[in-house]
């Protein structure tokens, strides 16, 4: 088997983005038959080697986005329209067998919960070998050797012990590393990571972040890093995409979005964080700023009739309740979907 078989590489323009997502719409059908929009009009492009941080709270559609890109939505989820092009391949139209070749090989996904994403009764080295064997025609020996090499890339010590361990014998941080090893085992060009550090303590979190940082340089990896914690994106992501109720509300270079956000939601979200430790005693035990109200969740959101953040927005205007804002380009790289910036457009 030749890597890249089945894909028309001759049509792949080296200047084109690695991943190009256009107008992605995803909906879920509830058991009651009710259909709801989980993602609407999501567009973005990713250049080779670039890391995109997807920032969103529960129900914003960030995990739906990860699943939709790889066409791994649950049975009641449907991609209504849109296009996803990855390395010149149209992922939404690819035949299932073509898609299987791409997933795990060129495009890898790291799931949220390391303890659930690993098979509990198979040794670690074997689980990594399975991924390699699925994509490469190698003998058993060679697969085992390659699995070991990959493990050595993420564990500097104890590689052998870990290779022969079952997942329950490992700590949370070690399991996260195994998932990373699995993801890089076929040297993908893009990794989609859905809250890969959510269940880890801060020290382990930092270790995993710096591991990703190293791997990025080493393999020229592109990454989509999905998280609810803006602090994890600081100094890590090149660009940030902020989701609210299934809509992209703001996108731009990470340093701009995180330090001078332009959408009222991003601004409110960043204000909610506990004060930086060195400042925390100025307002010790005082109320933290909050965003009033509850997230609707994208599931309750209907399309097009108003800005979905309007009910919670401190800067709402009459127009916000009348129709949904479009993305306003604030600079060549920074955009926000908010009527208050419409004048800046022209």
């Amino acid at each position: 088997m030749v890597t890249g078989a089945g894909r028309d590489l001759s049509r792949f323009d080296p200047m084109a983005p690695l991943l190009d997502v256009q107008n992605l719409h995803v909906s879920y059908t509830a058991r009651t038959g009710q259909c709801s929009t989980a993602l609407a009009n999501v567009s973005f492009a990713l250049q080779p080697g670039e890391t995109l941080g997807v920032l969103g709270e529960s129900g914003s559609g960030k995990s739906t986005l990860a699943a939709a890109l790889l066409r791994l939505l649950p049975g009641n989820g449907r991609i209504e329209r849109g296009a996803v092009h990855f390395e010149g391949q149209d992922l939404l139209r690819a035949a299932p067998r073509e898609l299987e070749k791409t997933r795990g090989d060129r495009l890898a996904l790291i799931f949220q919960e390391p303890s659930l994403a690993l098979h509990p009764a198979i040794r670690v080295a074997e689980q990594i070998g399975d991924v390699i064997a699925a994509h490469k025609s190698l003998g058993r020996r060679a697969v085992r050797e390659q699995a070991r090499q990959i493990l050595a890339a993420v564990f500097s010590t104890e590689t052998d012990r870990i290779a022969n361990s079952y997942p329950h014998q490992l700590s949370g941080g070690q399991r996260a590393r195994v998932l990373i090893a699995q993801a890089i085992s076929c040297e993908p060009s893009l990794i989609v990571a859905d809250e890969p550090t959510a269940s880890l303590d801060p020290e382990t979190q930092q270790e995993i972040l710096s591991l990703f940082w190293d791997l990025r340089q080493k393999f020229n990896l592109s990454m989509i890093w999905i998280t609810h914690n803006p602090l994890l994106l600081e100094g890590f992501a090149d660009r940030v995409l902020v989701l609210y109720a299934g809509r992209v509300v703001e996108t731009g270079p990470a340093s701009n979005v995180l330090s001078s956000p332009r959408h009222p939601y991003t601004q409110a979200l960043l204000r909610c964080l506990p004060p930086r430790i060195e400042d925390s005693f100025a307002n010790h035990k005082e109320y933290l700023p909050v965003i009033p109200g509850e997230t609707l969740g994208s599931l309750a959101a209907s399309e097009g009739c108003h800005c979905l953040f309007e009910p919670r927005c401190v800067e709402r205007m009459a127009i916000c309740a009348e129709r949904e804002p479009e993305m306003v380009q604030l600079s060549s790289t920074h955009g926000a979907s908010c009527f208050k910036h419409v004048d800046e457009w022209t």
Partner: protein, 247 residues
Amino acid sequence: MREVLALAGVTFSIFSRTTLAVVGPSGSGKSTLASCLACLEPVSSGKIWFAQTEVTAMDAGQQCAIRPSIQMVFQDPASSLNPRMSALELVSEPLKIQDRFDKRERSDRAYDLLERVGLPREKAAQRPDEFSGGQRQRIAIARALVLEPKLVILDEALSALDCSVQAQVANLLMDLQASLGLTYLFITHDLAMAAHLADEIAVMERGRIVETGAARSVVDSPQHAVTRRLLLAAPGVRNSALEPQAV
């Protein structure tokens, strides 16, 4: 069977109506400590005093009697709340188990608490899966408070929540502490939140308390390597916090 020492020589006290934050890496014994205080885990040696009585000297029956005054809120409300019970049933159940009041009084008290934690009366009949993560944690807090405890152990109670929801629940906890005179043991690995909410901070590692003191002095002039490491790992912290302090 091999015995493992989960806690070794841990000594501390919490004063009434204050908050002690216990921070430390995973596996440092924070949750074991919580279980011991809540009489859920027997101690091999050492003494625990609660409100002038020695808990460790009590028999099982006596411990049962003081348990209502020590309540816990866990990290993940999705798994700590029975999915088949309504919010109202969940909050009134502790009263039922303790056989306090008649049914009507129990419901009244549960309604009151649900309102107090910010859940409207008309949602009381809904089950946990119909609530958001933040609302579920509010239910768990109401359930912990219905027995009018003195000490509430918050075991990573904010960790599973989104940032904006974390702030809402943290504000609620401060409100309740002031109005009900609660004492909190706040277990967390979020040092920024610990610094904001706590009067005192204890830092644990491998079953020992390696540093303890007023929250401010622990953060401003960390003495132990573990504390420094935790400060360094806290996301978004500028390293200036770790530079040697001018004396």
